[in-house]
Structure formats: C-alpha cells, structure tokens
Symmetry: C2
Subunit: 358 residues, 2 copies
C-alpha cells in the first residue's frame, strides 16, 4: 500500500469534515458530498465507510437541519441492522486500551467479523491531533477493510455524547458491523452510559494490585462481565496472576447478575497476544448463553425503552433551556435563587410558566 | 406527663392526617384545620409544630391545590429562615441510626438548639405502624419540646421524596429549627440526593471491619465529612478502634474536599454516650471553618441552583408524562421501541410533537 499523507487519509475516510482541515479548499468538496436520505441509506447498507462516516458527522452536528436528516437516515437504516454483539471496554488511562483493541480487534476480524470501534469520552477535547493520534495507535486495525474506527465527538455533555454514540451504533449495524466496541475511560459516569447501550462489559486492569490504586470505582467493577488483567507479560506475568485472583475474589462479593452470567477474570497481553482469543471466546459464550435464556432480547428491549425515556428528557431540556424567553430570564432567576430571595421551586415555577404560556 | 393513646398523639402532632386513622370521625376535624396561607405562615413562624406538620403534609400531598398552597407557604416562609446547619446522616440498617440520633439529638438540644429530624427513604413504604415504630425508637427525643421528627413520605420516587424533603427543610428553618438532620439508609442513590441538600455528611459504621461487609459504597464514603464507628462499647470497643483506624486510612486516599475540610473518623456509642459530644463539636468546627472560608455560603448557593435545575426537569417530566395525549400514546410507542421497529429517538420525537403541538 502506498504511503499517504495522514490528512488525506482522513478526508478519504470522512472521519472529519474536510473543512476542518483546509477551510478554503474543501468547503466545496464537502458541499458536493451532501447527499439525500436515500443516498445515505443506500451507501450505509452497502457498507460504504465514507458514507457511514458522513452520516455520523450529521448525528454529531449541532445544526438542526443536519439532525433532522440524521434522524431520517437512522429510521430508515433500523430494519437493516445485522444481529450484533455490543461490547463496552473500559479501563484507566495507561492500561493499554488502544493496544488491547488493536490485538483484540485482529482476533475478531480474523474470524470473519466486521468490527466498529466507537469512543465515548466527553472529557476529551478531540482535536485533529488526537484523532490522528488515535488512528496511529491502532495502526493495523485502522486500515483493515473490515474495521471502522470513530473517535468521540468533542465538546459536548455526557448525555449528548452518549446519545450520539447510541445512534451511531444503529448506523454501524446497518452497515453490516456485527461486533461493536464502545470504548470509554473508566474513571467516571461515562461507564454507566456505556453500560446502558452494550450487551457485554469488559474491564481492563493493570497487573499491579488494588482497585483503589487503579482509580477504578467499585460500581464499575460491579458492572463488569469480564475483568482482563492486561500487560500480563515479561516480569509482570506473576503479579498479573495475583491480580487476577484478587479480582476473582472481589467479583464473588457482588450480587449475581440478572443475565445469569457469572463474571470472569482473565489475564492477557496485547503484546504477546496471550489470552486474547480466550476473551473473545468468553464473549461468544456470553452471547450464546444470554440468547438462549432470553436475556439478550429482554435486555435490548429494556435498553431501548431506557433510551426512549432518556431521549424524551434530553429533548425536553433542550427545548426548555434553548427557548429565547428562558435564555432571557434564566440568569436573573438563578441569581435570585442563589442569593436566597427566591426558592428553587418558585423559581422553576416562574420559568415553566414563561415556557408554557408563551 | 399523662400517658396518651399513641394514635391520639399523632393526631395532635399532625404527623399523619387524622382521616388515615379514623376516616369517619376525623374527616371533619381535618377539614376544620384547613388554614389560609397567612395562618400557616404565622403558625410556622411561631414555631407551632402542629401547623408545621400540616404544612409539610401539604408539600407531600399529590393534589395540585395542596401543592399550590404549599408553594405559597414556602415562599412566604423563606425570609424567616434561621441560620442553620444541615446534617445528612447515613448508615446501613442495623448500624443503630435511631439510637444514635436519640443520643446525638439530646446533645444538640441540651446546648439550646432546636432540632428537626427528617427522613429520606423512597424504598420505605411508611405505614402507620412504622411511623409509630420510628417514634418509639426515639422515645425521649420525640417528646422533647425543641424537637420535630418527621418520617419519610411513602410511595414516591426518589426525586419526589428528595424534593419534598428539601422543601420541608425550608419550613423547619422558618419555624426556628437551627439544626436539621436528614436521615437516609446508606445503600443507594438517596445519599447523593441528601448530599445535595446538607452542609455536613455523617456516615455511621459498625465496629466490624470492611466496607464491603457493611454494604457501604465507596462513593458514599467519599462524601463523608465524618465517619463515626457506632456501638463502640463493651466487647466491641477494640474492634471499633481498629475500624476507626481503617477508615482514617481509607479517607486519606480520597481527593481533598473543596470545602477545605479534612474528613475525620471517630468512635462513639449511643449507649454510653462516649464520643457523641465530640461529633457535635466537629460539626461546629466545620461550620465555623466553612463560614470563614466562604464555602458555606457558596455551597448553599450552588445547592440552590442545583435544585432550581432539578426542579425544572422534574416539572417538565411531570407535565409531559401526565399529559393526557402522552398517556394515551406512550405505551404504544414504548412497545414499538422495545420490539425494535421504532428507534428510541424517533419515538421520543413523535411524543414530543404530540406534547408541544396539541
């Protein structure tokens, strides 16, 4: 393969709008690429990664015309979603998530699957540099024809990012990606959001012991279907084995999962590939077991219902706080509430009256 | 004091509406007690516990006429709130919370304070029995003239209960209660809600070691300004001291608090009263320190702003989900979303259109 300018590679893959790279040159090219809903849907169904990527850009756009377009695309794509397994991956920075995904992803595509990797990280201010960085960290995977990698959109709230990731999953599945990895950082609330959109939750830890030291919250451990001690190679192999045992003990203390699945702990190395096939095997077992006991389906239904409600509340808030009358008055009311001359409840009453009456 | 029928005691204190005790007899008596906003406010300002209790019953009522009345009362009471310290108390069942509050409350009122004890526990289905139970558990405190005890309202969501507790605090402060205890159960989300309405957060633990065994989540420990190892008496004294040391170590691992306060751990016994005065002393130190460094005021302002936003979202949801058109259509849309024929986002779009267009 001819070596390419990394920027050109991005334009080709449509990961970012070309205008963000060269505003003058590319505005026209971008415009030329605006497609009808039907063209988007057709492109996605055919597995065209450029079209898929541009459709996700529409999902991520703040412009309401883009969002309307995105909604129509999603709606028409839904019937074409392939059966999939959605996997959440988390771990603190330094755990080697990118190299793990590189190795784990190879294992998956080598078995004939199509893999989409999405990231959810509202804290990251993804700029051009870090997109390129992300790509370089998963060098082999990013150029594999069966793989689609999409970094997290920048500058948005967790609710916003989560919603967009959830919608992006739908498009990836319509494009034939039957394994979806949703990557997150493992230090905060994003794990809960990810947990609400995946089937299987994988936690990566380092060979050194103690969840406190790794900054992993107990709640995140409790969500894990599998804990993998990464970097179990060289001198760290023994301590990885000890850490695995500790995790196994910790997992025992949590209440049994409604899925019927018993959480596992394993060691692995993205470097030597040891343990990587076993993790994929585990996930397939999980898939089989939960499909048979009906949990897979009921869980997906419950997640969809959860997102319906989340989406309603999100939209209600959006409409409320972006309403011109509210924007005009909110700051003043907030001030009165903060200084104590108005109760929060009366303040909200006044604003709601303004919103609904006008 | 003449011994009274416990039921009569409740009618007198207005803890529950008399009609829930004897529907026939008391409906009239209850009616007769309906007051104007001005009468309520006057009664509360005078520290009349019967009127205070009835006003809180209005806050807890599902009827919109009651809620409107309650809002007016709260609004007019706000300017009369005394400077107060609000303390959240939590711990797993069995930790001896009621006996602790009994002893701790005595310490507080003996120093000339007026004490209100509110409970927040959405899981409890408070019926007459358990109200009586609660009262009996804090026997001395409940009859003290400077004390007002109010159990959690039953059958409501956490959001609902939290909001009502927050509003009740405002009335108690207008009635001259300068120490507010908000009690919760220590196993779930309610602690976060309580944390958002108190100045100081007190966690009770048992002398046996290990937070896992006590079912206390790490996040709850992290919120604590003081951890008290209760039941530090008799044979348990030594293990209490060990547990205290463990807690002190655990507290060190958490990031420093924005209040500038360094979380403490102490031992205490509600039985022997050992350590009880020291806990109250700590809280006073906290109060002094955070008043001086400005945290007290800025934190209260931030909490009020938080509750303004919470209240807006709560009301938006209430109006949405109780709207007749939504109630008519929601179930059908949910069904389509769950079976996957409609995306959660399109589903919410349809419902929002219905809500705003009609």
């Amino acid at each position: 393969m001819k070596k390419k300018d990394p920027k050109a590679l991005h334009i080709q893959k449509g990961v970012v709008s070309p205008s963000s790279i060269n505003p003058n040159l590319s505005k026209k090219r971008w415009k030329r690429k605006q497609r009808s809903v039907e063209e988007y849907v057709k492109g996605i169904k055919e597995g065209n990664r450029v079209v898929l990527s541009q459709a996700i850009t529409l999902i991520e756009s703040q412009r309401s015309s883009h969002q309307e377009l995105a909604e129509q695309i999603i709606e028409q794509c839904l019937p074409f979603a392939v059966p999939s397994i959605r996997i959440g991956i988390t771990g603190t920075p330094g755990v080697g998530k990118s190299t793990f995904i590189e190795a784990f992803g190879q294992e998956i595509v080598n078995q004939g699957h199509k893999l989409a990797v999405l990231a959810i990280d509202p804290s990251s201010q993804v700029n051009q540099g870090s997109i390129l960085g992300d790509k370089t960290r998963m060098q082999e995977l990013s150029v594999h024809p069966s793989v689609f990698i999409r970094p997290s959109p920048a500058g948005d709230s967790l609710g916003g990012v989560a919603r967009k990731t959830r919608e992006s999953i739908a498009l990836c599945e319509a494009a034939g990606y039957d394994v979806i990895l949703v990557e997150t950082v493992g230090v905060g609330q994003s794990e809960v959001a990810v947990h609400s959109m995946v089937d299987f939750f994988l936690l990566l830890l380092l060979p050194n012991s103690g969840d406190e030291l790794q900054g992993i919250k107990r709640g995140i451990m409790e969500m894990a279907d599998l804990i993998a001690i990464n970097k179990a190679d060289g001198n760290a192999l023994n301590s990885a084995k000890i850490a695995r045992k500790q995790c196994a003990n910790a997992l025992h203390l949590f209440p049994p999962k409604t899925s019927g699945w018993i959480a596992q702990s394993k060691i692995c190395s993205a470097l030597t590939k040891v343990g990587i096939p076993e993790i994929w095997e585990s996930i397939q077992q999980y898939n089989q077991q939960t499909t048979q006991n009906g949990y897979y389906e009921s869980h997906r239904a419950a997640q969809a219902e959860y997102w319906l409600h989340e989406s309603i509340v999100y939209q209600l808030k959006e409409r409320f706080f972006k309403h011109p009358h509210i924007q005009e008055k909110l700051h003043e009311i907030e001030g009165q509430v903060k200084e104590g001359s108005l109760s929060p409840f009366k303040g909200s009453e006044l604003l709601l009256k303004l919103f609904f009456d006008k």
